[in-house]
Assembly symmetry: C2
Homo-oligomer: 503 residues x 2
């Protein structure tokens, strides 16, 4: 209840009735109006940092969509079947982000060397097909039979299993994660909740660490899918913490401090920092200094840290990947605020098998996440198959080494081809992508210029690349190119097209 | 902005300052207080029908949990890592419902004929193991190899696939659903969104058809899991529509009307009716008359209908199962309000494989649900395997017939054994359970009497049965017994224990 003390009976004597009514009323509404204006300017969606003009543009598009939704809702109320506003926002997602428009353009007109050589080449999905042959071979040599007994026999896994994952599979994953992340941490199955893909793990963390309307800080440029995975269902807000090319897109204490302070000042509670390592879209791993900065910052501000390490095994060059788990083992931080997301979609290239991992030191998060896995658990059949694969120690070691080698080679080759088209990439040592500096090809150094360039690439070059705006990059002109889902031949065609567009 | 017109300058002359301030202030706060009280009495959780005392008891338990959460939150705010209230409510679910307490008791001390003959016998989980041998045989005769080409080859499904399901698998499922549901409806793959288990389909429907705080009407007794699947993530309220044993627990127009009116009168928007057919826990199929009643009611009140037909293939006796889809084909209803949930956990007994189906005539629901399946999609490997199985027409026909025969026989046998222990069951023709009338064993005909009986069954009899209260049944003394997950021998032991408790 708000305390309202009426200003009244100030004016006595003749005329008091009129003055005593009108003046306080006028004062009251003037104050309300002022307060309303102040609130609007401090609104959650007004980005509290320098990248606000860029964000405003993106958000203006969101607002348009929401206005569309309001209209849809009005219609629904009238007679048609009612659909919730939150569902309508999801249904309309394809219409307002270039990230989805590009994908749809590819689906409409996909490139094929023989059947459709003029089609759109997809370079926007971070998928690793470079080492599928290794897994294919393993599958051929290990025919999938149901054993008669043991944890992987049909009768053991056909019915209801633990929704949060079979213990045997968790153990296999724990060993694999240890191996992939450098062999210096012993991951434990008790700290794991398995989900059908790592998007579900992100969604569960957003739901668990914040109320709807609270915010997470996300160093930008960041993975465009976070705006979907972290926000759609949970109602959490993501606030970009900007970084700059002149600093190799590194996270700084100053930017964290400024964004945190401005967000909280605007009345929004910040609950966590969300980072990726190797970072998506830049492709650089977070080093120990950076991880310590994040841990210290989160201790100071009482924040959670979500570390998305889904590309850990795809770090292909020095400096070596360091998991945040390593620092918790050796340092004195509150581990109950630290949560790692992992999965097999990137490092094994098995996105279709839907295996995600939520790894946490927080018992309450473990418990609520386990409850929520009833909505997102992994097929037990797939858990059985992958347990056998992951427990094949020799195969795993060979795979990790060979996959890293192939990614590193591909990255080198792609960068050299891009340089021939006059395009340079940000420094990187991991991930399935390069972060291309195309600022010299902007017609104007602003968001509009980037949109024009993105359209030129998509509609003239028939190349679907991810524009920096989708990643909340504050410098227009940066693009993400995913290099591990196309063949050498397709990439060569893509680079020919790039050259013919600009040279 | 609320319009507040200050009552002022009413008292002029001597004493006006005091009277003009105090009286309006007192009046203002008295009004606020009254309004607050009125709001509390119209609170969503006050159950708007005769079963309110029963519900109050259940909700009181919820309130206790929430109070616990408030405490937890207070602690969290102070220093510990913050966990959201919605996550804490899920983490604490095991502590406040007898449905979960019973399960935990079983997990703590599971019955085994040799290793633990005094252990707890699980009769609370609706799982069908009666026909696993048929599927096991099929698997042995159809070794799972990855074909070199086609929609089920490794390279076609290893990477990102449509999150909402492979088209080939949807087609196989559409044919299977048609077969299981009587062969009179041609289900279409375009109307399907596949999810990792049908719980996820229910959750998505709750999210899509209502805002948080809106309500669904649910004829009771109803499946206890709805209170989890429909409410946890979406914030939707479920309002029971009571039915009575003297009417074979049939849904009536009078009860629907009364519950609808009272819910809306209390300020809560009703968005849908949620039913199961065959019903869970009673086990009777909804006949055409009942389905038409629901369709007419939903037309009249502009409500959605969610029809959970997950036990369609487990209807084992006349009258034959009728899908709501049949009536839409032949009648003139607004199909965009109708949504069917299906899955392979019950009719095929493959709960571990996590296959759910959301089948809808509503394009916006299709579109938003497809978006949300990025959090709950099915392993492509499992989709490939089950496509092959479901497309084996002869196997499917034989399986459905034999599984029905086995369920019917088991039901008959169980009912006859129960009768020997003096327990009669409600009429039923489907499902994996019987709905037992144990009213004659109540020490008092009230909710407390049922709790005493449930405890006696669990702690003295070491039998985990689902108490009617968990299903929001308004008549104390009814219990659900799931009969298809235990062996004949185990059930025989269970009935011996029942007899020794009561005879």
């Amino acid at each position: 209840m708000r305390l309202i003390v009426p200003l009244q009976a100030v004016f006595q004597g003749p005329g008091g009735l009129v003055l005593g009514t009108i003046l306080p009323c006028a004062l009251f509404y003037a104050l309300q109006l002022l307060r309303g204006k102040w609130r609007a300017s401090a609104s959650p969606d007004a980005a509290p940092d320098q990248n606000s003009s860029r964000n405003d543009q993106i958000l203006a598009r969101n607002d348009q969509t929401l206005a569309g939704n309001d209209q849809a809702l009005a219609n629904a109320e009238a007679d048609a079947a009612y659909i919730s506003a939150r569902a309508l926002a999801i249904a309309s997602v394809g219409t307002w982000s270039s990230y989805y428009v590009g994908w749809q353009e590819f689906v409409r007109n996909p490139y094929h060397p023989v059947d459709n050589p003029g089609g759109c080449i997809e370079l926007g999905i971070a998928e690793n097909k470079l080492s599928w042959d290794l897994i294919e071979n393993w599958l051929k040599n290990h025919p999938q039979e149901w054993p008669d007994n043991g944890p992987f026999c049909f009768r053991h896994v056909a019915g209801y299993c633990e929704f949060h994952g079979l213990r045997a599979f968790k153990n296999a994953l724990a060993i694999f994660m240890g191996e992939v992340m450098g062999g210096r941490v012993a991951f434990k199955e008790e700290q794991m909740v398995l989900t059908s893909g790592s998007s579900a793990a992100l969604d569960i963390l957003a739901f668990s660490l914040a109320e709807a309307g609270d915010a997470f800080l996300v160093p930008s440029p960041y993975y465009p899918g976070f705006d979907r995975d972290m926000k759609w269902r949970s109602g959490v807000k993501l606030v970009p913490v900007p970084s700059h090319s002149n600093n190799d897109f590194r996270i700084t204490k100053a930017a964290l401090d400024r964004t945190f302070t401005e967000t909280e000042k605007s009345g929004i509670k910040v609950r966590a920092i969300l980072v990726t390592s190797p970072s998506n879209p830049v492709g650089n791993t977070l080093d120990t200094t950076c991880l310590l900065l994040l841990l210290n910052f989160s201790s100071e501000k009482k924040l959670h840290i979500i570390c998305d390490e889904v590309y850990a095994g795809s770090a292909f060059a020095d400096p070596a990947f360091v998991s945040i788990a390593e620092l918790l083992d050796s340092q004195n931080y509150d581990a109950s605020r630290v949560h790692i997301v992992y999965g097999l979609s990137k490092d094994l290239g098995l996105a279709g098998f839907r295996v995600g991992v939520l790894y946490t030191w927080n018992k309450q998060v473990l418990s609520s996440a386990a409850g929520m896995t009833r909505f997102c658990s992994i097929s037990s059949q797939t858990q059985c198959l992958l347990s056998t694969l992951l427990l094949d120690k020799q195969f795993v070691q060979d795979y990790i080494a060979e996959n890293r080698r192939r990614l590193g080679e591909r990255r080198k080759w792609v960068a050299s081809l891009l340089e021939k088209a006059g395009i340079f990439c940000a420094k990187s040592n991991g991930g399935l992508f390069v972060w291309m500096d195309m600022r010299r090809y902007l017609v104007s150094d602003d968001p509009e210029g980037e949109v024009i360039l993105w359209k030129k690439l998509l509609y003239e070059g028939r190349l679907n690349l991810t524009a920096g705006a989708c990643c909340h990059c504050i410098e227009p002109g940066w693009f993400r190119l995913c290099f591990s889902s196309s063949s050498d031949d397709t990439l060569t065609v893509a680079f020919e097209r790039l050259k013919s567009l600009f040279l």
